[in-house]
């Protein structure tokens, strides 16, 4: 008992030491980087100056489409980000020269970041529309009728004013959901990373598009169901029937028209260029106005303000949930596959099952986990509206099963053949011998390798964000996109993963020691 307590204390000390080390390294790193940040003397005053520059865009947006033209000409380099906020962050860190983005989100970003600004020259003017599955003219007609009605009665104007009107008007006329009898769900796909059209606030997806969709649903007398996903997943989701309507500040383009049908436009917007203030020829004297936040201020801003810690907490919950259930599924699948493979190797039975298992192992271990996750979400569960945590559990469980299977198999192979023979000679059948003699010993052999597999599984779940699932990583990302602060949310998330991994390894090493002790008494 004393021994246990001492080792627990030693472990806590070790943990603290690691955190300190990580912390110091990160600190040194960030100061080194900011010291080395050279002034790029590139100046962008308009679209003509984009030649030879690095342009940041959000993947699949209109900005991306425009920027791609430059890329094709070979006149500019493009960095594509999953979120507009990431592009803005990269701009602030001078990793890129400018960001091409829709005007309204650009205004939101510049409002909270006083070191970037919008160029006066607008880049392009365009119209937003809603999209439905190609050929679904019935739904399209209903949406257009509803749009016409809410435009005519001033609802659309009110919604716009509420979000992007003058400072006095803003927030004064929120759309009130109507009290109507509703039948059926209207599933709307969006990408809530695009303020003010769609973004997350207090754990809810809000914004102009969402209010407009609510208004349309009120007209159609349906329930609004919002599905958050990556922007470039919206059209595939509409095509596969995962969602009926796409509402994501989407500009109508020729390419998009090939994949979906678009409604009448509900708003007009511009594409603009955002740059760092320092890189513009037009100087700006407001420097002293820019306050540098102290570290505690930053902590408060990232975690306390707006209850942002909740993103981390709910994300952590999902990460743990996914990991635990995926481990269980992985163990079940892994054990079954390992048994089939072992029975086949020993008795030359189960030929067909063994063949199937081999295919499973080859496919799972031969493709990236992220692709597997996307395939399971967009292809296998394409037409059903399933819980994303369930999808992730299935995907990671299937993935882990393949690795666990091989760990278990080699664990079984490592048990001395004499153990199996001794069991059989006592009259135990194959199954009894495997389960009561071979497996317990194999389990001990494979504990370290299993632990490693669980640790990689835990970390692997960080890709859950790709199906719009809010896990720990994504939770940190949401904070990052709201505070434009990379360091604190990322380090916090990293530390949480680290602590979980250390706890897991510690638990396994204790179990291992206990099993070892047993044998030498």
């Amino acid at each position: 008992m004393v021994n246990t307590r001492r080792s627990t204390r030693a472990f806590a000390g070790f943990l603290a030491l690691i955190m300190l080390a990580v912390w110091l390294t990160m600190m040194c790193f960030t100061t080194a980087v900011s010291a080395a940040e050279g002034e790029k003397n590139s100046t962008i005053n308009g679209a003509d100056d984009l030649v030879g520059k690095t342009i940041g865009v959000q993947l699949g947006t209109t900005g991306d489409i425009f920027a791609t033209d430059y890329e094709k000409d070979g006149t500019a380099r493009i960095e594509r980000y999953n979120k507009a906020a990431d592009a803005v962050q990269a701009l602030k860190q001078k990793k890129i020269d400018c960001v091409i983005i829709d005007e309204q989100p650009a205004l939101s970003f510049t409002a909270v970041n006083d070191d970037i600004k919008i160029l006066e020259e607008e880049f392009a003017v365009e119209e937003y529309a809603l999209c439905v599955k190609k050929g679904n003219s019935e739904l399209l007609q209903k949406i257009n009728d509803a749009l016409k009605k809410i435009k005519a009665d001033g609802t659309v104007d009110k919604i716009n004013t509420n979000y992007i009107g003058t400072d006095e008007e803003k927030g004064t006329m929120p759309y009130q959901k109507k009290d109507v009898k509703r039948t059926g769900d209207l599933v709307v796909a969006t990408n809530a990373e695009f303020p003010p059209y769609e973004y997350i606030e207090n754990n809810q997806i809000v914004g102009i598009d969402m209010d407009i969709m609510q208004a349309i649903c009120d007209e159609l007398q349906m329930n609004l169901v919002i599905e958050n996903m990556a922007f470039d997943s919206i059209l595939p989701a509409i095509q596969s029937g995962k969602a009926s309507v796409g509402a994501a500040g989407m500009t109508v383009t020729e390419d998009r028209k090939k994949n979906a049908d678009f409604s009448d436009s509900y708003t007009t917007t511009k594409q603009v260029i955002i740059i760092n203030k320092g890189t513009s020829a037009i100087s700006d004297g407001n420097k002293e106005n820019r306050k540098t936040l102290s570290f505690t201020d930053k902590l408060r801003q990232n975690f306390i303000d707006d209850n942002r810690w909740q993103y981390i907490l709910s994300g952590l919950g999902n990460t743990i949930l996914i990991t635990i259930f995926a481990i269980v599924i992985g163990l079940v699948i892994g054990t079954l596959v390992a048994i089939v493979r072992t029975v086949h190797d020993q008795n030359h039975k189960l030929k067909i099952l063994n063949f199937l298992c081999k295919i499973y192992l080859a496919v799972i271990r031969g493709t990236p986990a992220m692709i597997q996750l996307l395939i399971i979400y967009y292809v296998i569960f394409a037409s059903v509206n399933v819980n994303k945590v369930l999808v992730a559990v299935v995907a990671f469980g299937l993935n882990s099963g393949a690795y666990v299977a091989e760990v278990i198999r080699s664990g079984i192979n490592a048990v001395d053949k004499g153990q199996f023979e001794a069991g059989r000679c006592l009259g135990l059948n194959y199954r009894q011998t495997m389960f009561s003699i071979v497996m317990p010993q194999a389990f001990k052999n494979m504990l370290p390798a299993l632990c490693n597999e669980f640790i990689s599984l835990l970390k692997e779940t960080a890709i859950s964000g790709y199906i719009g699932l809010q896990d720990l990583t994504k939770g940190g990302d949401i904070i990052r996109s709201q505070t434009f602060e990379a360091f604190i949310p990322l380090v916090a998330v990293a530390l949480i993963y680290l602590v979980m991994v250390l706890l897991l390894s510690y638990g396994v090493s204790r179990l291992e020691r206990r099993l070892k002790q047993n044998e030498s008494r």
Partner: protein
Amino acid sequence: MKADKQTNEILIEVHGLKKSFGEHEVLKDISTTVKKGEVIAIIGPSGCGKSTFLRSLNLLEEPTGGTIKFEGTDITDKSVDINKMREKMGMVFQQFNLFPNMSIRQNIMLAPVKLGKMTKEEASQKAEELLKRIGLSDKADAYPNSLSGGQKQRVAIVRALAMNPDVMLFDEPTSALDPEMVGEVLSLMKELAQSGMTMVIVTHEMGFAREVADRVMFFNDGVIAEENTPNEIFSHPRNQRLKDFLSKVL
């Protein structure tokens, strides 16, 4: 100890037994019988097929030809439940093969309890009786790794006895032991032989074979080259290979 306890009841009947590993024919047409209460020693040069023969008797190696009848049942017949047969045939290995993750008591109790032969209480009591018989009562709750080689092998023998087998098969039970531990194992086996147990023993201990066995089989190159009473085998060997073998080992 000989002759008096031996009966004429045939326990194992081997007919035309063949075994090949791929191209390599290890057992070539072996026929013999083992009577109830008989103690048989198998001797022969290394690689001549002694272990393979012994392991064929309980189908640990599947014969490629011939039949093996145990208590009247042809156990090479696929429809026979071999597990039921093995309950009656204890086996002791050169490497002991105790289960390292179980206590000595659990090692002994496992099969009788799992196979529904005894309740846990009965099996535990049986384990204690057996351990008392070999003077290891104080080790009941120890784990195999804390035992000496001789102790391990004696536990392995009583583990097999816990199933109340009709025959015990030994494959060089003392070959992995330090010389000073050979005696304790052999004397347990001798005691077992005296109690009337049918035993088939592959061994390099010629003195033991001569003293304890009722019959000695000399294996050479996959066949039983000579089979006789210990006295005839050791004092009047006929087969030239047996003469050569004995001149090397005696």
